[in-house]
Amino acid sequence: MNGKRAGAIVIALVLVLGAFFVRRQIDGSSTATPSGRDSSALSAVCTPEAATACQAMGLGGVKIERPGDTAARLAKAGGTLGADLWVTPSFWPAMVTELARQSGNDSPTALTASPVIARSALAFVTRRDRAQALAGSCAGVANWACITTKAGDAWTTLGGQASWGTLTIGLDNISTTSGLMGVSAATVAHFGRSDLATNDFDDDETFGSVLTKLASSAPTSTAGGTTPLERYLRIPATASSVIEIDAVARPAVAASRDVASIERGVPTTLAVADLVIVGPTAANINSIDRSRWTAALVSAGWSTPNAADLPAPSGLPPAGVLVALTTRWKQIAQ
């Protein structure tokens, strides 16, 4: 080996080692938490509507799971999260205790929750022509009360065209955030308040028909995608409309080929998902960089915790009522 070649090898080694050093600095700055913990050491179970942000956080492992399934698992005796963190709307962890009590489990996994890291309201997506017709039949304001009571009605009775068929509303499974929030929004709209108790359901004989109408208006086919919104955007005629979290609906509609003909709105009374991070170990929750999570979520379509257009109350009933509502919906939708 001559001296020139040896020098080149030394320089190359220096460059490689230098590159490793710089990479480590970059990685360290992007994943270290304020307390110095490396987020790549943490794993998380994430609700599907936060999947994009979760995958951008450089975690050690990410599992995407319907929050209703996570909650059901945690509520069982000996049920575990199977990860360090659970990124989810706050009402799901709250339901774990209620679900556990329902199943006779007095000591479900204790969870520590972060403050709210992002928020998103429940949105209603439909074609502009249908939105206009619906607004017309709802005295100008298509709120949840009007939308859900018109579910299943022929469009001809709503000022629409015969070829539109009936007002079908794509609503996801009750184990998903948008599914449960959609049913909840219909319930709150029917009663006119969110501070409900389960006996309100029994005291109102007309309530059952509201849910039945909503359930029977929902398309049952799952061909074309994993969520009603995916299916709707791929094949618009799969439903007249779709209920989805705005954090999911906004970017999806904006990227859609049909953006010009689709209207996305946030009907009142607002129903808001407050995203939190919970986990069985308080130290993990306390160590997370919330501002970094919020930034990732905002870039994925969520709003900041203090977004001016989203007032503080979530507009959802208490966790026990949500559990009862879930049970009732499953009976109806079967």
Binding site: S163, W164, G165, T166, T220, A223, T226, R234, A237, D258
Partner: protein
């Protein structure tokens, strides 16, 4: 050979077996080519992870192209190995049947990791059959669509205009009314168009036929989802469907038969009296209007648009999509690495640049972010903003009942089977077979008797030279054209007793049969001849063959033209290597029917079943 009485259950089994036979043998969905047993891929994946695909024929070329690009990129599976995708053509029904049976690699080709039938309805059918067999479902219910095309009612533009379309929505209810109107098109100021005539494929074999049946039944029920067994039994729904079926020209296994016949009729200037409407996929309307009715341009062929364009009518009651899903199968032979590799390919085909390519085939992109543009434009007779309402595929048990109901209530047929018993039919069917061609033809034709319903009129005529006591006849009527129900045993015995004789007076007997069928024409039925021959016209005088053929074709063409025509469809079967397919194709086309190729004599069972799918 002994034959026992066929019970309804056995008959139903026969229908199912025939359906499976056709599904296994003929093209899936509405494709145009036959299945290649064992698939068509010979590419060597080397050390890469092989991802075998079974895809419906209409998209095989596109997927092969995409796979080639993908394979060149050497994308890595989790194991670090490159991923290699191998698409193979397999019709939707055939693949479903093969999967149900565990997929025999020797017969069906490599076991697929990804299955992409024409419609996700096939996934439901497979899962239902697996469940019935106490096996786990294999097709995930939420597969992504690769590309889309809706079922439409294709109608010549002047007819659509006469109905007021598109300003006035048109649906199956309008077609049912028109079908029942004794005035026919005269009610719309066009007596020269005659009666309303509908083309619709057999729902047991064709995706668009099945979609049309579902759509018309929903239309009759007034629903768009949750069709029930009670709905099927509702007299109003039954009546509605019968009214639609009454207008059917004939059925069949592929829509291509209608489109090709329509295209030829258009060239002759009588497209409006061949058919008033045909249930097809939107893509077929684009192909037709761009002058390429079969969707395939042969070498040297240039597309030449028709004189009268078709308009895609999106039924006002709603319609269904062929969504071409990618099912990554939940099968024991699929490894984690293959599953991950399949996901990579799925992501690849959904990339916008690749989704743009489905447009050039007349399909809509499955990726919601890729715009629906040319050729899905108004100038091609289609509307990218339609359909407005989608129908849901009924539950599997309802689907089964729907098909059974259709089998009972479809339009009845009046068919004369004309079989060649010339001397050459006594030759061995294949080089290795001890059976003669006539032996196999007898078995096949006896098997197809079960595909008719009891009130179908079926007769049997055999032809050769030197027939009859005086050996001066060219054909003999062994069974009259009358209801088959009580006579199946007699027909079976008649066929079973056939023996090879002498020459092949093909043109003479075809013309005579045609005239006889015209004389007894029944406008409430599908009137047809099934003509099987293994040779060419050989009546002892070859000097006038050309003149005989021309006279026959002239007579046939005249018979199907005009508003008062009494169309007799002649479905021809060229049997064995010496069959004159050219003459048989001309005869079939002159009567607006289809010629079937059974030059491989061993395929006669499958071909006979395909022919009878027209009824």
């Amino acid at each position: 050979m002994q034959h026992t009485h066929v019970t309804p259950r056995r008959r139903a089994m026969g229908v199912v077996m025939a359906a499976l036979l056709i599904a296994a043998g003929c093209s899936g969905g509405d494709s145009t080519s036959t299945t290649v047993a064992g698939g068509s891929t010979v590419d060597d994946p080397g050390d890469c992870v092989p991802i075998d695909m079974a895809v419906s024929p209409e998209k095989i070329e596109l997927l092969k192209d995409l796979a080639k690009t993908f394979n060149g990129q050497k994308r890595k599976a989790p194991s670090g190995k490159c991923v290699f995708v191998r698409p193979a053509k397999k019709s939707s029904g055939a693949a479903a049947t093969a999967l149900l049976k565990g997929w025999d690699e020797a017969a069906d080709g490599p076991r697929p990791v990804i299955w992409s039938p024409a419609s996700s309805a096939w996934g439901s059918v497979l899962n239902q059959r697996l469940t019935q067999a106490n096996l786990a479902a294999m097709a995930p219910p939420d597969a992504q669509p690769f590309m889309l095309t809706p079922l439409v009612i294709a109608m010549p533009e002047p007819m659509a205009t006469a109905l007021g379309y598109p300003a006035k929505p048109v649906g199956f209810a309008d077609l049912a009314r028109l079908a029942q109107d004794p005035q026919g098109w005269a009610a719309y100021g066009h007596p020269e168009w005659g009666q309303f005539r509908l083309g619709k494929t057999n729902p047991n074999y064709s995706t668009s036929g099945l979609s049309a049946l579902i759509a018309q039944t929903y239309a009759g029920s007034g629903k768009t989802k949750d069709l029930t067994l009670e709905d099927l039994a509702n007299p109003k729904v039954l009546e509605f469907s019968k009214n639609i079926e009454s207008a059917v020209v004939h059925y069949g296994d592929i829509t291509l038969t209608f489109l090709n016949n329509w295209f030829r009729a258009d060239k002759r200037g009588n497209a409006l009296t061949y058919a008033s409407a045909v249930a097809v996929e939107e893509k077929s309307v684009i192909d037709y209007n761009t002058g390429n009715p079969d969707g395939i341009l042969d070498p040297g062929e240039e597309p030449r648009p028709p004189r009268i364009k078709l308009v895609a009518i999106y039924p006002s009651e709603g319609t269904l999509f062929s969504d071409n899903p990618f099912f990554v199968l939940k099968a024991s032979w699929v490894t984690d690495d293959q599953r991950a590799g399949a996901a990579l390919f799925q992501t690849f085909v959904q990339e916008p640049a690749n989704q743009q390519r489905v447009l050039s085939y007349g399909f809509r992109p499955g990726n919601a972010n890729v715009a629906v543009t040319d050729p899905i434009v108004a100038s091609n007779g289609v509307d990218p903003n339609q359909p407005q309402t989608l129908l849901e595929v009924p539950k599997p048990e309802v689907m089964t009942a729907l098909l059974e109901s259709w089998a009972r209530n479809r339009k009845s047929a009046r068919v004369l089977m004309v079989l060649d018993i010339s001397g050459s039919m006594g030759d061995p069917a294949t080089q290795t077979s001890s059976d003669t061609k006539l032996d196999l033809a007898k078995t096949a034709s006896i098997a197809t008797l079960d595909l008719f319903k009891d009130d179908d009129d079926v007769g049997l005529r055999v032809f050769s030279t030197l027939l009859g006591p005086a050996e001066d006849k060219t054909f003999l009527d062994l069974q009259p054209v009358s209801p088959i129900g009580p006579r199946k045993e007699q027909l079976t015995r008649s066929i079973d007793g056939l023996v090879p004789t002498a020459g092949t007076p093909l043109y003479d007997v075809t013309l005579a049969s045609f005239k006889d069928m015209v004389a007894g024409y029944d406008p409430t039925r599908i009137n047809a001849i099934v003509l099987l021959t293994d040779g060419k016209n050989e009546d002892g005088d070859s000097s006038n063959d050309a003149a005989q053929r021309d006279a026959l074709l002239t007579e046939l063409r005249a018979g199907v033209s005009g508003e008062n025509a009494k169309p007799i469809r002649i479905f021809t079967i060229g049997y064995g290597a010496d069959a004159d397919m050219s003459a048989l194709t001309q005869i079939a086309e002159a009567s607006n029917s289809a010629a079937y190729n059974a030059t491989d004599a061993a395929s006669i069972n499958k071909v006979f079943a395909q022919v009878v799918s027209n009824f």
